[in-house]
């Protein structure tokens, strides 16, 4: 449902073709560029604008001989050990190809002769690395890089287990060219392209080439061919081949949907599914380590984005709900404040003010209390009251015949003050100061000037 169609880039030794579908058909927006021009970026970039705008993954099909297939003995099946081993091996074997370790793939295999090991295939042709870097620079890094031979291998392996256990020849026949692919126990060995001449002897020439190639195969694989598959047939070639080789030839029907391919890409005919570019398996293609990491982390990224987006949406919804609640609460507060013009705190403050006011002594009352507390021959000179500080400063004159009388009148004054004003702590004689120098002796009596301070309760 959400499958995006992949884009296809096919490279030959001289050219590179860009197609948004697997059609590679000149009638359907196929862009064709010279490979050296593309690698050196000497082309009109507008030609690829449509291709670049499409957001889908890219399959790059390169010629078979751009890949090298090797087998290294290795006991462990663990990826964490195999990967560094291959990387190290390729780095030391091909120091002039620094990208080769990153553009390789492998398959663990148990072989009869070599034993346990890994079948490794990697980009080998120097121009392939230039092409890869140019594609990355153009913003078109390929997700998969493969060859026609690997795609055929994958397809035949999917058909059944027979292919994986035998030595097989696949002949892909075209009107002008024939492609021979040799596999041993399901592993690609080599391929050949045979041009067919426009003459009556073309089939004999092809049979000769097939025979030569089988000889080469037997030398390489040290085994006879078990199966021969023929894709596409013309003028009873299947029968002639069968008679010539003395063994049955199995004919496989092609898709027949890509007849309008450019001649340079004839080897891809019958290989691609109509309407889509199939994604090859990891065992039949290479992917740059960086892209592998990206692909590996992609589900985590999507899951992370999805969870975060869901949370974000949830929080947005929550925020809208909270905002409505906030408005409701604020509305309720405004309404209650409207119903309550005065807060209790205002009443509280008013009550405190009233209490303080009530506690404050009245000036007139205090004067009356002071006057009523004065004993005989004691006259007030000055009365000073600070009602905020609750302090009273008093000055008076005491008339006395003798010191004893003065003392007695002073005692009476203090006693009366304490009683009338209910002083706490009570006033004592020590609190009263009197200036002896200011004491004026009259005819009979002496007038003593006294002063004292009272802290009102």
């Amino acid at each position: 449902m959400f499958h995006k169609k992949n884009r296809l880039i096919a490279a030959t030794d001289k050219k590179i073709f860009f197609s948004e579908t697997c059609g590679l058909n000149r009638d359907f927006g196929l862009v064709e560029l010279s490979l050296p021009q593309f690698v050196s970026h000497e082309f009109d970039s507008r030609m690829l604008s449509t291709f670049q705008q499409t957001r889908s993954e890219i399959l790059l099909i390169v010629p078979d001989h751009w890949f090298k297939h090797e087998f290294f003995s290795f006991k462990s099946k663990r990826d964490s050990l195999i990967k560094p081993f291959i990387e190290r091996k390729l780095k030391t074997t091909y120091p002039h190809l620094p990208l080769a370790p990153y553009l390789s793939s492998y398959l663990f295999q148990q072989r009869d002769l070599e034993g346990a090991g890994v079948r490794v295939f990697h980009l080998f042709e120097p121009s392939s690395f230039g092409l890869y870097e140019a594609l990355c620079k153009t913003g078109l890094p390929p997700r998969w890089i493969t060859t026609a031979a690997l795609l055929w291998e994958e397809r035949f392996k999917r058909r059944g287990t027979e292919f994986s256990t035998q030595a097989a020849l696949l002949i892909h026949l075209h009107p002008h060219e024939a492609f021979l692919y040799f596999y041993f126990h399901g592993n690609f060995l080599f391929s050949r392209a045979v041009a067919l001449a426009e003459s009556a002897e073309r089939w004999d020439a092809l049979l000769f080439e097939v025979n030569q190639s089988i000889y080469l195969f037997s030398q390489k694989a040290k085994s006879d061919l078990n199966m021969i598959y023929l894709i596409g047939d013309a003028a009873g070639f299947q029968q002639r081949l069968s008679e010539f080789l003395g063994r049955p030839v199995q004919r496989i029907a092609g898709t027949g949907a890509t007849s309008a391919l450019p001649r340079e890409l004839a080897h891809l005919e019958d290989l691609l599914e109509p309407g889509d570019v199939p994604a090859p398996g990891d065992a039949y293609s290479v992917t740059h380590r960086r892209i592998q990491q990206e692909v590996k982390w992609r589900p985590v990224q999507w899951a992370g984005m999805l969870v975060a987006a869901l949370l974000f949406l949830f929080f947005i919804g929550e925020y809208l709900w909270l905002e409505r609640r906030l408005q409701d609460e604020m509305g309720a507060r405004s309404q209650m404040r409207y119903q309550q013009p005065l807060a209790l705190a205002d009443y509280d403050a008013a009550l405190i003010e009233l209490t303080e006011d009530a506690k404050r002594p009245s000036g007139a009352d205090t004067i009356l209390k002071i006057v009523s507390a004065l004993p005989e021959e004691v006259l007030i000179d000055e009365f000073k009251m600070d009602s905020d500080a609750l302090r009273l400063d008093l000055a008076a004159t005491v008339a006395a015949d003798s010191v004893d009388q003065f003392r007695n009148r002073l005692r009476a004054l203090i006693e009366n003050m304490n009683r009338h004003l209910k002083l706490d702590p009570p006033l004592t004689i020590e609190d009263v100061v009197f200036n002896l120098e200011e004491a004026k002796s009259q005819t009979v009596q002496t007038h003593y000037k006294i002063a004292w301070k009272i802290n009102l309760p």
């Binding site: 925020y319 008013a350 009356l368």
Partner: protein, 184 residues
């Protein structure tokens, strides 16, 4: 720039940052709502309390209003207070030597008023007694100097006039009576 936009980690981070930010934002909103809810509950309780104690609160309001002279402006309040004091001093035949008012400060409801007067001691005490019920005139400081021979005294009185601006004060004013309004 394009490579940056294609970076899924960046987008993942941005969306997570958005989600976390909105969570934080909502947390703040929840705090605000809880605070307003608490305020509303307190207000609701206050409202119930006020409804249940309406009479007592009205009395407090009424009593508190007596601490202020209600006037349309501070100057008018000052004028009323001066008039009351002057009238009282004149009735008691006191010799008012000085009456100064500190210029009112903007927005202030309290003004300082200093009086200096002299006369017989009984009348001075009577003046102070008559001033006591005028609660908007708070007697801050009283300095009374006696002259026992003549039976007179000199009084310096520092008063604090508490004034509250009330637009309708004059409409409801009664002669010789300061307006006590319910304005806490």
């Amino acid at each position: 720039m394009t490579a940056l936009l294609k970076n899924r980690w960046l987008w993942t981070g941005v969306i997570w940052a958005g989600a976390l930010f909105s969570a934080f934002w909502n947390h703040q909103a929840i705090d605000t709502i809880l605070s307003i809810q608490a305020q509303n509950q307190a207000l609701r309780r206050e409202l119930i309390f006020q409804q249940q104690n309406a009479r007592k609160l009205a009395r407090i309001q009424e009593e508190h209003a007596k601490l202020f002279i209600a006037a349309e402006s501070v100057q008018l309040g000052m004028l009323t207070a001066k008039s009351i004091i002057g009238e009282l001093a004149s009735r008691l035949e006191l010799n008012m030597s000085q009456m100064t008012l500190a210029p009112p400060q903007k927005g202030s409801e309290r003004l300082s008023l200093n009086l200096s007067f002299s006369g017989p001691i009984e009348r001075i005490v009577h003046f102070l007694t008559a001033l006591t019920p005028q609660r908007f005139l708070h007697q801050k400081q009283i300095t009374l100097k006696f002259d026992p021979k003549k039976g007179t005294g000199t009084c310096e009185l520092a008063l604090l006039l508490r004034c509250r601006i009330h637009p309708d004060a004059l409409n409801e004013s009664k002669p010789n009576e300061p307006m006590a309004r319910s304005a806490l």
